[in-house]
């Protein structure tokens, strides 16, 4: 299969300005791939921000899914990319607090950014994915394995993605692979952006670089669904990658 050849692959990563997405983009760039990174901020100088010429950045705010999808497809055609080997839909936001205190605005925001936007992106990118028999990877959350009173809507959006993958993987079988990887608590700024400070508990979270390594291992193996447990992340430390392969 083409995607395991040693060559530079075309990769799109959303939410690549911070945390897991940023590290993942840098890791793939370091292994010789071409990356289109997206996020909500504006970045003045891509090369200065990412520290490599292999990453192109475009602002695509997922709170307007339609517009974000259009921006991404037009950037892809400007870049002249006719196919996509890998798409990682990672951009997301959360809100933490009792469910009855969650405002209508926060509920809508999370549903738009975490669920609607990935649906729009999957639809808009499907022709390029089919072209390369590529892989569409959603980033979920291990929070969906239980009820979570403290971030009910966030968890609902991630469970929706989990369900989407189950059905879509079957629909697209033979044309493109569809999968979802569920990170556990990770030491990024996400919780602080969601309005809480985890305090000392942050020390118990997995380091983002371990999670990013585990994501790459799981993508390489072609797994359809994986909870990126602490133990799995630890095991992945010992995996060695060859350059120029996914």
């Amino acid at each position: 299969m083409g995607r395991n050849q040693r060559r530079s692959h075309n990769i799109l990563i959303t939410g690549a300005t911070d945390g897991i997405g940023l590290l993942l983009a840098k890791a793939y760039a370091a292994r010789g791939h071409q990356i289109l990174a997206t996020g909500r901020r504006s970045v003045a100088d891509d090369e200065a921000f990412f520290g490599t010429p292999s990453i192109t950045y475009v602002t695509a705010d997922q709170s307007d899914p339609e517009h974000a999808a259009q921006t991404i497809t037009s950037t892809l055609s400007e870049l002249g990319w006719k196919e996509l080997d890998l798409v990682v839909l990672n951009g997301a936001v959360g809100w933490v607090g009792p469910p009855e205190e969650e405002s209508t605005g926060k509920i809508s925001e999370q549903i738009d950014i975490n669920f609607k936007a990935p649906v729009h992106f999957a639809l808009a990118l499907s022709p390029l994915l089919f072209q390369a028999k590529g892989r569409l990877v959603f980033i979920g959350s291990s929070a969906i394995t239980k009820g979570r009173g403290g971030f009910a809507t966030y968890c609902a959006t991630k469970a929706a993605l989990d369900g989407l993958v189950r059905s879509l993987a079957e629909e697209w079988r033979g044309r493109a692979s569809v999968s979802i990887l569920h990170p556990g608590p990770t030491r990024t700024e996400m919780l602080r952006k969601a309005g809480v400070d985890p305090g000392w508990k942050r020390l118990l979270f997995t380091a983002p670089k371990r999670v990013v390594k585990a994501i790459q291992v799981s993508i390489r193996r072609g797994e359809q669904r994986r909870i990126l447990s602490r133990f799995f992340c630890f095991r992945c430390r010992f995996t060695w990658f060859q350059e120029g392969r996914l």
Binding site: P99, T104, F115, G147, A159, D162, G163
Partner: protein, 253 residues
């Protein structure tokens, strides 16, 4: 006893509304097709009050909440839902947006607001209507089933915090029914024989809503499907593909 039913004009919502009225509930019946509820308003007088509410529109949902200000509900059934069937990439994004707003955003906004506004009676129950596709997967309606999975997870998450506020939560996973909606989305040539009548579904749901059940797979067929889906998830989704996706004619939304 007071109840609120969304999507009350037809199908399961209509059956639930009728059944509740028969049992002596005062029902607030919300839908976009209010004209289809008028007969119930006439037959039951003041017991059935009809409200226009467009679940795809947040301000309409919030207006519905305003209009029931002061009422304490013993039962709320968040039933309104739509489907979109066909190949994932053949359905336009506007249909997906609307589906997600109706199936996921509206019930979350309603449940969260009702508890915040203390519009639930002590021991009141909120019923979330998910779908049997939650157990099986549903190629050919992937965003529909995703929205119902999201809703099931939301219900699971709020169970404990809502209980502290004296509100109980029940999630229902109905299988195929003999309703207009099912007719519209079923693959051509499929028989209605194995589908459940909405009136029967309504009675099973109301019986469960009086017990302490948290989750309900109504009817033995749904229960069997749930067991299959939980034991052999991949096989279940394949079967759904063979039985439905491969037979679909074209997109319906």
């Amino acid at each position: 006893m007071k109840a609120l039913v969304t999507g009350a004009a037809k199908g399961l919502g209509r059956a639930l509304t009728e059944e509740l009225l028969q049992r002596g509930y005062e029902v607030i019946a919300a839908d976009v097709e209010t004209e289809r509820l008028e007969d119930l308003g006439i037959a039951h007088g003041g017991a059935c009050s009809i409200r226009f509410a467009d679940m795809s529109n947040t301000s309409s949902v919030l207006r519905l909440l305003d209009s029931v200000d002061g009422v304490k509900f013993d039962l709320v059934v968040l039933n309104a839902g739509v489907s979109a069937t066909g190949k994932f990439e053949e359905i336009p994004t506007f249909a997906y947006d609307k589906l997600i707003d109706i199936n996921l955003r509206a019930p979350i906004v309603l449940a969260s607001s009702l508890v915040r506004l203390q519009a639930m009676a002590k021991g009141g129950k909120i019923v979330f209507v998910s779908s049997l596709s939650h157990a099986m997967g549903y190629p050919g309606a992937s965003v529909y089933s995703a929205s119902k999975d999201g809703l099931a997870q939301y219900a699971k998450s709020v169970r404990k915090p809502f209980k502290k506020a004296g509100v109980r939560v029940l999630t229902v996973f109905p299988g195929p029914m003999v309703t207009e909606q099912a007719e519209k989305h079923a693959p051509p040539g499929s028989s209605a024989e194995k589908r459940m009548a909405p009136e029967k579904m309504a009675r099973i749901i109301l019986a469960a809503s009086r017990r302490r059940s948290r989750e309900l797979y109504p009817g033995y067929r749904a229960y069997a499907a749930m067991l299959l889906g939980k034991t052999f998830p991949t096989l279940a989704t394949r079967l759904m593909r063979k039985g439905i996706f491969d037979k679909l004619d074209g997109p319906v939304y």
